[in-house]
Amino acid sequence: MVMRVSENVKYSTIVDNMFGVQDSYNQLVEKVASLKEINRPSDDAVGMTRVLNLRESIASIEQYSRNIENSQSWLTITESKLSAAGDLLVSAREVAVGQATATGDAQTRSTEAETIQQLIDEMLTLANAKYEGRYLFSGAKSTDTAPFSSTGRSAAEIGTASSAGANTFDGTVTSSGTYTGSANKTYVAKITDWVEGTRTATYNVSSDGGETWTTTGATFVLPDGGSVATGDIGDGIVLTFEDSGAAEPAADDVFYVNALVAGYYSGNGEELSVNIGEDTPFAYSISGEEAFTDEGDGTVDIFGVLTSLKQALESNDQDGIADLIDDLEAASGQISANISKCGTRTNRLELASTNMTDTKLNLTELISVAEDADVSEVITQLSMKQIALKASYSVAAQIGRLTILDFLR
């Protein structure tokens, strides 16, 4: 049986086919224009998810690369400052060796003492050097005051107690006691509970600047309008709270105090670190403690040795000068050890950096495979669709012309 072809069927077939071709033509045009295979999530949901995850990886790699570059610059500057310090120590040793023999006399030693003073001043400039506004050798202590001072402390000191800016307590807090610790540290006390009725505060203490806490459960009772001293909050430090009669202590009030051992250094022994990979912290700084002091990881108090040398020269103490030659030797050794530490770290950064570049390249390629359109293929398809579109237009133009009406007179 022959199928009837009604007018609607004739035209709707043409229109539907034309729309079909136009739709796929437009999709191809979009791909050519954006050069992307995925222009919206529904184009390829799995591919889109993959692309987003890859982009996230690339973004973190870019950040890690920036961290690596910063660390490299930091280490380069550190290394140059340290090698300059090494040169100063060589000069100091030459002076010591020269003046440790009988050829030297009070006159020459007094002159050389001045040379050493200049070396000390120069050393101080190096040890207090900054990079991008930050002291290279202050450990993990960001402070406005230089980490090294020309005049040393003869004994340990407990700094002024400070209150954090947002504390509720508006009385005063002072510090006292004798510091028995072996390195520069920041002690923090944090109120965990305040009972108004009994005027009792419970507090925790930290000896590492508030990063980790010792839950002591220790308490103090602050008399109304009076003052009270806490027990030893660590290494002999005592805080005294004095009530102002106004706001009382409250939970989360933070009080801190810097404790410094004898010597020239006021920074701490921590190192600064950044991530150079996923969960890969990398310490990029050399602490002043390690490079210039005999505390913590350091073994030679460089400023102490130089000052002793100067004093020995001034007092014309030939034996004293001779004794310091070994110390100067050890000081040079300490600086060299830290220079090579910089070198090792720089090498590790270079490896990481190469690795990052490779990974980034791979990821970029994967993204491109997932989302970029194969231009030559898309354009081929586009010209095919163009032909199909032209054909359907031409058929559409013909459709009305063929009717029996033309043959009836």
């Binding site: 072809v5 609607n8 919206r40 999530p41 998810t49 996230e56 990063e211």
Partner: protein, 456 residues
């Protein structure tokens, strides 16, 4: 047999062909009328003459039922496609500047701060990136809500349309019932076409089944068996705001306490109800839980650190609504931090290192989402993937449904549609018939003349 009989036969022939020719005219002029079924005069022999015993409407009832079902499917997938196209745009991350990219920048800004914890530039960058991120969370949340509200508004307007169609069907039912006994009339065929068109229009909105009554009227029932139209009577639907969600519930106007949302399972009404109550809700919940987890994780870690004033870190993010609900559309950066970047707690100690910034940045690799199985980034990518998949699915079913409907409509038109060529040939046929009848008239007249001349 007399000459008068021949004249009568000729008259019947002329009249019948006249009717057939005028019906051809009706068909030709309605060649492009949607839903028009072509009509045909049924010739029949009476004694020795001819008469038109009926005007047949060429229509396949079974295709009509299939078209209604498919229209219902298409109504559903078209409405869903319309809603999802809009939602997909909210999650379109194919270009830069989406939540995914800003999240990466956010973690990067913390890393940057960890390298220079006291740097004002780094702090300002972090605040500005965080503000862009929260603002995108807010606008995405708002847009999703707008899509949901839009679906809700459509529910209301579609219910109005259902009422209009139901009333029209009842009206047509009445007219058809009144014309019982005049089935041969072309007018009743027009009414039947109108009935089919109205049923198809209704099918686009709701799914129903219907029965044809003896008087050719139809009764329409929702899938729960409740009648919407019964003969000449129709029942109005209405919308009432839900007590909890304040979204519209569909009810019968005469029984406003019984919600019938779940009885609507097909057509555009069901699609918008589903988008509003399930699809959009799912996306909104996912985005909200991402915002809530991000705020809570970052705030917790931020609280463990110290700012440049040696204070313990406060909340970094908050939800700007009272009482607080953890929804993406309210997420903001703490106003304290925006006004004083020194309040960013980058340090793990009061000494001002950058370790807490590193810890916060490391949250990007923590499996915090989806019962500790996904990172923030992976969770969001999966959400985008989900939206994409849903959109791709409705796009496919929309295409499928619309292709199928086109095929069915073509199938109907093959039977019921008008072919001009065919009508022209019919015209020639009927014209010839008419001419022949007219010739018969002349012949009969000549016969009478001959007879009369005999008498003279």
């Amino acid at each position: 047999m007399s000459g008068i009989d021949t004249l009568n036969i000729a008259k019947d022939g002329l009249l019948s062909h006249q009717t057939a020719i005028s019906l051809t005219g009706t068909n030709v002029t309605n060649a492009n009328t949607a839903g028009y079924s072509r009509q045909r005069a049924v010739f029949s022999t009476t004694e020795q003459s001819v008469e038109i015993i009926g005007i047949e409407r060429i229509y396949d009832h079974f295709i009509g039922v299939q078209i209604n079902e498919q229209t219902n499917n298409l109504g559903y997938s078209e409405a869903k496609k319309d809603a999802l196209d809009r939602i997909e745009m909210i999650f379109n991350e194919s270009d830069a500047g989406g939540i995914n990219e800003l999240l990466s920048e956010f973690w990067g800004a913390w890393e940057g701060l960890s390298a220079n914890p006291s740097g004002q530039a780094e702090r300002l960058t972090l605040v500005s990136v965080s503000q862009s991120l929260t603002s995108l969370f807010r606008s995405s949340g708002d847009d999703l809500l707008a899509a949901q509200n839009d679906a809700n508004a459509r529910v209301s307007s579609l219910v109005g349309e259902v009422n209009d169609y139901a009333a029209d069907i009842a009206d047509v039912n009445n007219k058809i019932a009144q014309s019982v006994g005049s089935e041969n009339d072309s007018g009743i065929n027009t009414l039947k076409d109108r009935q089919e068109t109205l049923l198809a229009s209704l099918a686009e909105i709701v799914d129903f089944h219907y029965v044809r009554n003896a008087d050719n009227s139809v009764s329409v029932f929702l899938s729960n068996g409740m009648p919407v139209v019964d003969g000449g009577q129709s029942w109005e639907l209405d919308v009432v705001a839900d007590d909890q969600t304040s979204f519209y519930n569909v009810v019968f106007a005469d029984d406003p306490t019984v919600e019938i949302n779940t009885s609507l399972t097909g057509g555009s009404l069901a699609a918008y109800l589903e988008v509003r109550d399930t699809t959009a809700v799912g996306y909104i919940n996912s985005l909200d839980s991402l915002a809530a987890a991000l705020a809570s994780e970052v705030n917790t870690q931020h609280g463990l650190g110290y700012d440049l004033n040696q204070d313990a870190g406060g909340a970094f993010f908050y939800f700007d609504v009272n009482p607080e609900v953890q929804e993406a559309r309210y997420l903001k950066v703490s106003t304290d931090i925006v006004s004083d970047v020194n309040k960013i707690a980058a340090s793990a100690t009061v000494d001002g290192d950058g370790e807490n910034a590193t810890s916060i940045s490391s949250l990007q690799n923590e499996l915090t989402m989806n019962s500790n199985t996904a990172t923030f980034g992976a969770y969001y990518s999966a959400l985008v993937g989900q939206v994409g998949q849903d959109a791709a699915y409705v796009n496919r079913s929309y295409k499928h449904d619309s292709d199928l409907l086109t095929q069915l409509i073509n199938k109907r038109d093959v039977t019921s549609g008008v072919s001009i060529d065919e009508e022209m040939i019919n015209l020639i046929k009927f014209q010839t018939g008419y001419n022949a009848s007219a010739r018969l008239f002349v012949a009969a007249e000549e016969l009478s003349d001959t007879l009369l001349n005999l008498i003279r």
